[in-house]
Assembly symmetry: C2
């Protein structure tokens, strides 16, 4: 039972037949079925996720990881407190985030929260822009069990042929810059969740959206770790874990609240 | 039992007291103890990992994830086959790796294999260089439950103060370049595992090693996804999952074998 639940957790969003378990763990299919009932109940009770049983010849079980809104909220509130730490303010009013986005325990939780917020969407890939978005996209992709796609701001030989689009970079003073995506990294017809660390003007995300159409792919949604209250909400819908409402450089004060990710549609 | 094993798997390398479980899951400590015996046996049998019990007042259990050498080897052999695909050769004799390093299922396995290879080392952080190393470092850090540290080749305002070192970049024709690490991203006295995607001349890794001494930190080891047979083995010890022995651009042929990661010391 321990072993089956371990297998499910490591293979989310994947249909596994009971025969596979029976062969793998050398047990009768009936006892696997019984174990599955207990696992299902335990997972639901603790809101670890849902185990769906699909009957019929091609049937089996699919595990969809989840997280309770209570747990999600308390995690985000903790992040709020961390983000408000005054020593995060960098010259120019930027906020230092790298430590939060490089701690596995935090990333895993963020991945679970974002994945749950988009659980009703079919998602084939997670897209982000290098470098700070990568661990976030990785975390979400881990939970969804889909590949992630890294858009670059520079051209690397090791990416092969690329497609590029122009975008308006807010951080370098509304300059037009280019972003690149390796041609083989995204299949046509993919539904893509865009993930990024900090949303300000939205130029980077708009750039990624235009890349999607170059790859004949579709936007499934946008999720950001933190947004700025002044963020351009009119160009695209997005969900954020944290909202920075004010950065007071003079008094080293950052005001942060929970974003809109838990809002009901 | 399912819930406890789930908790352990999500909190590797962390001491948790049985009281924590008893409170969290509202059960008697004695029944938690009994469950733990079964979990321990199941984890060992399937080589999912070890559950160590530490007795005494500050005691509890620590879960160390593992992977059997048989499973590890078969995963690496599959990667060998994937890396040998002829359409990976890029102009200039580079190999396209990005698809492998952006698939969660592959990354999780690589993380487990690398973590196991360094299980006798105390590791406080995993270090890599942006961008392609990030998912790898993330995967290893996930298993070890330690933060990862991203060295950059460019300077970003959002990193705050940085320390820089020079390094010899093989990919841009033995040019001297600079790499940067945010000052607050690594504590002094850390033991660091360096991880990278492809080892050729070793310039990048030597750069990271010199960064370590700038941060008064120590090298715990070097692990790479793939190395080139001509790689500079004399400057530092490293473990690789895959070794590329020959790239024949003319005939679109890549020869790959299992690296030295499973070698006994």
């Amino acid at each position: 039972m321990v072993v089956i639940s371990n297998y499910l957790m490591n293979h989310p969003y994947e249909l596994t037949s009971l025969n596979t378990f029976a062969e793998k763990y050398e047990s009768a299919k009936s006892s696997i079925s019984e174990d599955m009932v207990i696992i299902k109940r335990a997972f639901e009770e603790m809101e670890i996720g849902h185990v769906e049983t699909i009957t019929g010849a091609g049937g089996g079980v699919i595990f969809t990881p989840s997280i309770s809104d209570t747990e999600g909220r308390s995690i985000v509130e903790e992040l709020c407190a961390k983000l408000s730490e005054s020593d995060r303010i960098l010259p120019g009013g930027y906020i230092y985030l790298s430590d939060l986005l490089s701690t596995p325990a935090i990333l895993k939780n963020i991945g679970r929260i974002i994945a749950k917020a988009f659980r009703n969407q079919k998602i084939d890939a997670v897209m982000t822009v290098a470098t700070k978005g990568v661990p976030l996209a990785n975390a979400v992709a881990n939970v969804l069990n889909v590949p992630f796609v890294i858009v670059r701001r520079d051209l690397k030989i090791t990416e092969g042929s690329t497609v590029s689009v122009n975008y308006v970079s807010g951080s370098s003073g509304d300059r037009i810059e280019k972003m690149f995506l390796s041609k083989r990294s995204l299949k046509a017809g993919s539904r893509v969740l865009i993930v990024d660390d900090f949303l300000k003007g939205g130029g980077t995300i708009n750039g990624m959206v235009s890349l999607l159409s170059e790859f004949d792919s579709e936007l499934a949604g946008v999720a950001v770790f933190a947004d700025n209250a002044q963020a351009a909400r009119d160009t695209f819908e997005y969900k954020s874990l944290l909202r920075v409402t004010n950065i007071d450089v003079k008094n080293s004060k950052i005001d942060v609240e929970v974003g809109n990710i838990f809002d009901k549609e």
